[in-house]
């Protein structure tokens, strides 16, 4: 059942979940299936659970001047969200005109979406598993933090996550990559296949793959292959007939509210920010199936403002602001009661809520991370057949692990299918300069437009960022917006370790463009908010949209906020789940890992509710 801004204080739930994004929806679905009564409190709107309303978000995208990640998902004053476009400068206060107060010294450049479904509404859908070494970077490389769990423990939940999200991929491509990355552990189970066959590689994937065959790069005397690998992704493709989940073959899940759409990607190329037919997974699908259990209630337009704890470390209830209009005073305060409370909002929102509610732990808000993203671009000598298909279908993944991680960040390289869209605003930027600067017109303009766009290569380097306590989210009770919302205060800096990674990334880019016979066109200007100079070279990073940290997991209350089941240390019934719990970023886009963790938490939460039942039984 979905309701807007209603009062649920009369009801009692087994589990109250704050946030209807992917983490919250996966937990709600599992617990709903187990017969638990679940409430999801969602700060934003839920209208788009209806197919035709979802389509209205698409109209916002079409008419938006800048088609940024949040362009289809408008800002809501009761549940404000950061926007990539808020960051316009290197000067922190200039970047603080939106939701965040940016303290710098470097800007935090990512954003998220406060609408039901969360950031999976506008994500690309890349679903890589982290590599086993990412779980022990402190031990292995002397950098960052170690996880309180091993890859092996998480592996079955990765498989479950790949089912729940619906991944298309070729497991043998991953196995081959595993060898290049020197993975000794069983990365993918012996018999394992992905639910659907890999999404076909794009023309540019195939071109790069051919040109880079057998090519490598050397770092500190070690050779590393430059192999192109197909990307497992949360996008519907052709079901793999060999796949079985609990004995059943895989059935692609279509659009919410219209089973006739979205069962296979047809190449709208607008994955970020919106898949028109929902062939790309979003949490709306999991929510839709969670609702079918009959045990899950969603209340949208309900912003949780406080966690109320009794004197014994037990959460009694959460307070939420239920708003009915876009007027600052038009809301009521209600409470929600349950046995277990799960914070499943974005890491920033989870941290903000715990800080505001005086949850006792000095590490809350600390270790904020992202994957700093370095875009590079070049012109190929030949036409590529691009500007079609999903944003990216392959990457160069073979530099994600190595001894170099003792000294600098690892990275993965995303091969773009959409030319210089993100680096330069192509194809528009090209025609703009052809017309305004070069005075082109007529047939010549048409030909140049084709030629200059169809030879564009864009390689995005996604860098690992180790946890540092000084990168953090804080609040100041005096810093509120006009609706009374506390504004997150962000302190953020890239360490030399990451910048050295950037240096290696840029070198790798130059090597790649030369192997491709392409003209490298990358240039960074000092008016870019992410501009950095290091060893006399210039770089400009952007955000990957991967908020991580803020309530990292660890082995004790002294080194972390949550344990490996994402239960908050020192509290009997409080969980904080999502990317906020990750102690390392690795070089995998984090959603799949957060999903695996959420599924592990769901199982643990269910078990503890069952135990409680048994205890009650004994008492009687």
């Amino acid at each position: 059942m979905i309701n807007e801004c209603i009062d649920v204080s009369e009801k009692e739930f087994d589990v109250v979940i704050v946030g209807g994004g992917i983490a919250g929806s996966l937990i709600a679905k599992q617990l709903g299936i187990y017969g638990k009564k679940v409430l999801i409190l969602e700060a934003g709107e839920s209208k788009h659970m209806k197919y035709l309303d979802y389509q209205r978000n698409l109209d916002l995208y079409y008419s938006a001047s800048v088609k940024s990640p949040n362009s289809p998902f408008s800002s809501n004053s009761h549940a404000p969200q950061p926007d990539e476009l808020d960051v316009i400068s290197k000067i922190p206060y200039m970047n603080s005109k939106g939701y965040f107060i940016q303290m710098g010294p470097t800007p935090y450049r990512s954003d998220y979406t406060r609408h039901l479904g969360g950031a999976t509404l506008h994500w690309l859908g890349t679903c890589l598993r982290m590599i086993p070494d990412d779980f022990k970077t402190k031990t292995k490389f002397g950098v960052g933090l170690d996880w309180p769990l091993t890859y092996e423990e998480l592996r079955p939940y990765y498989e479950q996550a790949e089912y729940e999200i619906g991944i298309s991929g070729e497991v043998n491509d991953q196995r081959e990559l595993g060898q290049l990355l020197n993975i000794k552990e069983e990365w993918f189970g012996k018999e394992y296949v992905f639910p659907m066959h890999k999404i076909p590689e794009s023309n540019i994937d195939k071109y790069l793959s051919k040109q880079l065959e057998g090519k490598s790069i050397t770092f500190q005397g070690h050779q590393y292959s430059l192999k192109v690998t197909s990307t497992p992704q949360a996008r519907n493709g052709i079901p793999n007939m060999k796949y079985r989940y609990r004995g059943e073959p895989y059935k692609p899940v279509g659009a919410v509210g219209n089973d006739f759409q979205g069962k296979r990607c047809v190449g709208y190329s607008s994955c970020v920010p919106i898949c028109p037919i929902q062939a790309k997974y979003s949490a709306l699908k999991t929510l839709d199936s969670a609702l079918k259990s009959g045990n899950v209630t969603i209340v949208s337009k309900a912003v949780v403002t406080e966690i109320k704890v009794d004197g014994f470390g037990k959460v009694e209830k959460v307070v939420y602001k239920a708003y009915t209009s876009n007027n600052p005073n038009d809301f009521s305060l209600y409470t929600a009661v349950g046995k277990i409370f799960v914070l499943a909002a974005n890491p920033v929102e989870n941290s903000k809520l715990m800080l505001k509610s005086l949850i006792k732990n000095d590490l809350i808000g600390k270790y904020l991370m992202d994957h700093p993203f370095l875009l590079t671009w070049g012109l190929s000598p030949q036409l590529l057949g691009i500007f079609k298909g999903p944003g990216s279908t392959s990457g160069i993944e073979s530099l994600r692990n190595g001894k170099f991680r003792e000294h600098r960040s690892a990275f993965r390289i995303e091969i773009g299918n959409l030319g210089w869209l993100w680096s330069n605003g192509a194809p528009y930027s090209i025609i703009n300069s052809l017309v305004f600067e070069k005075n082109n017109s007529g047939k010549k303009l048409r030909e140049s437009t084709y030629d200059m766009n169809q030879r564009q290569i864009q390689l995005g380097f996604m860098l690992e960022q180790p946890a540092e306590a000084t990168n953090r989210i804080t609040i100041d009770r005096r810093e509120k917006d006009s609706f009374g919302n506390l504004r997150p205060i962000i302190n953020y800096k890239l360490s030399e370790y990451t910048i050295k990674g950037m240096e290696a990334a840029k070198q790798t880019a130059s090597t790649l463009y030369s192997y491709l016979g392409a003209k490298e066109c990358t240039s960074y200007t000092d008016d870019d908010p992410g501009f950095i100079q290091y060893n006399n070279n210039s770089y400009a990073f952007s955000g990957a949209g991967h908020f991580m940290g803020g309530h990292v997991m660890g082995t004790s209350i002294h080194n972390s906020v949550v344990d490996k089941y994402q239960k908050v240390w020192g509290y009997k019934n409080l969980f904080a789940v999502g990317c906020g719990s990750l102690p390392t970023t690795g070089t995998a886009n984090p959603t799949l890992t957060l999903a695996a963790l959420a599924l592990m938490s769901a199982k643990w939460i269910n078990n503890s509710l069952e135990k409680e039942k048994i205890t009650i039984g004994v008492d009687k």
Partner: protein, 341 residues
């Protein structure tokens, strides 16, 4: 399954059955261009619900074509789609009777009440007790459901008479698997025996022609019910496709000449070129589907890409103004391979 049937008067031999199944293929194909044309005449950004409803029907008609092809292949026949004679020309006459006791004629025409009424005639059912066991040889069928019911009887009859193994003797590698067909409620059924053939025919009847609550294996409103909702948006009898009442703006529609012909564009050089490009692509598509259903199912993935290309070309044609506020339209005429340059 164990139902004892006698040979339907209309189908006296296995060859006749194969011909009837190829007719079924033709009829299923004949519905697609009219549905598409009515869809394309909807002005941009209007009537989105109707557009989506018609689109869902089209994808299921595609499925029906493949199911029929699977049955033909299962009994060792040859499904034919690359022959000028088997490609519908419009107006297309379906061998079933309308309410007015005339043969049903399908036109390529603008989205309109009249068009939707025709669609309802195509998809209408005959109540079970009115389906005639043996439609006389020289009489038309009362509905497509009755047409399929006759085919079903013949399938059962021959299966019982010559034995399942002898009757379902086709090459199983020719079957279009669920891997090749996607989208929409319902997935391809591999036909290897009587049971799967019955399932395939029931799925066609059920998705298309159900008027009441009874459901065989398909959820959601039938084609009949979906078109009914467009005509009767506020009626209590309407099954709601989206869960909410829809609105239909009958005036937000491009006017086109009914059953447009390529030859009428001959004075208009650029338009003629675009129209020809469309027809060439359409002909290529049918040829490729023919190849796909004759032993190369993987070719169906190519067909898919062409369908998107066709759609884009059709919507472009639709915007080109002719005289008196009429618009150009795709003519869906099959061009033989030798004339495609």
């Amino acid at each position: 399954m164990s139902k004892i049937v006698s040979l339907p008067p209309k189908i006296q031999s296995i060859d006749e059955l194969k011909n009837y199944l190829n007719l079924a293929l033709e009829i299923e194909l004949s519905t697609i261009p009219p549905y598409l044309v009515s869809m394309y005449t909807l002005e941009p950004d209007t009537n989105k619900e109707s557009l989506e409803i018609i689109r869902t029907v089209v994808v299921e008609e595609m499925l029906h074509m493949l199911l029929v092809a699977n049955i033909i292949n299962a009994i060792g026949g040859t499904p034919v789609l690359n022959n000028k004679e088997n490609i519908p020309k419009y107006p297309y006459e379906v061998p079933i009777k309308t309410k007015k006791n005339e043969l049903l004629k399908i036109n390529l025409q603008s989205f309109s009440r009249e068009a939707i009424e025709t669609f309802l005639e195509i998809e209408k059912n005959t109540p079970l007790d009115e389906i005639r066991e043996s439609v006389p040889r020289d009489e038309p069928f009362n509905s497509i459901a009755e047409f399929y019911s006759t085919i079903l009887d013949a399938l059962i009859y021959f299966n019982n008479h010559i034995g399942e193994g002898n009757f379902f003797c086709g090459d199983p590698t020719k079957q279009i698997h669920p891997e090749y067909y996607y989208n929409s409620g319902g997935t391809s059924i591999i036909v290897t025996d009587l049971e799967s053939a019955i399932n395939a025919i029931n799925l066609i009847i059920d998705q298309g022609h159900r008027e009441d609550e009874s459901s065989f294996c398909h959820e959601g409103p039938s084609h009949y019910q979906r078109f009914f909702e467009i005509l009767n948006t506020n009626s209590e009898d309407s099954k709601s496709f989206f869960g909410d009442r829809i609105t239909v703006k009958w005036d937000k529609v491009y006017k086109i000449y009914t059953n447009p012909k390529h030859i009428n564009y001959k004075n208009h050089e650029e338009l003629e070129k675009k129209s020809k490009e469309f027809n060439i692509l359409y002909s290529n598509l049918l040829d490729l589907i023919h190849i796909a259903i004759n032993g190369k199912p993987e070719v169906f993935n190519e067909c898919n890409i062409i369908m998107f290309s066709l759609r884009n070309k059709a919507t472009e044609l639709m915007k080109i103004p002719l005289e008196d506020n009429f618009r150009a339209a795709p003519t869906f005429e099959y061009i033989e391979e030798s004339n495609r340059k």
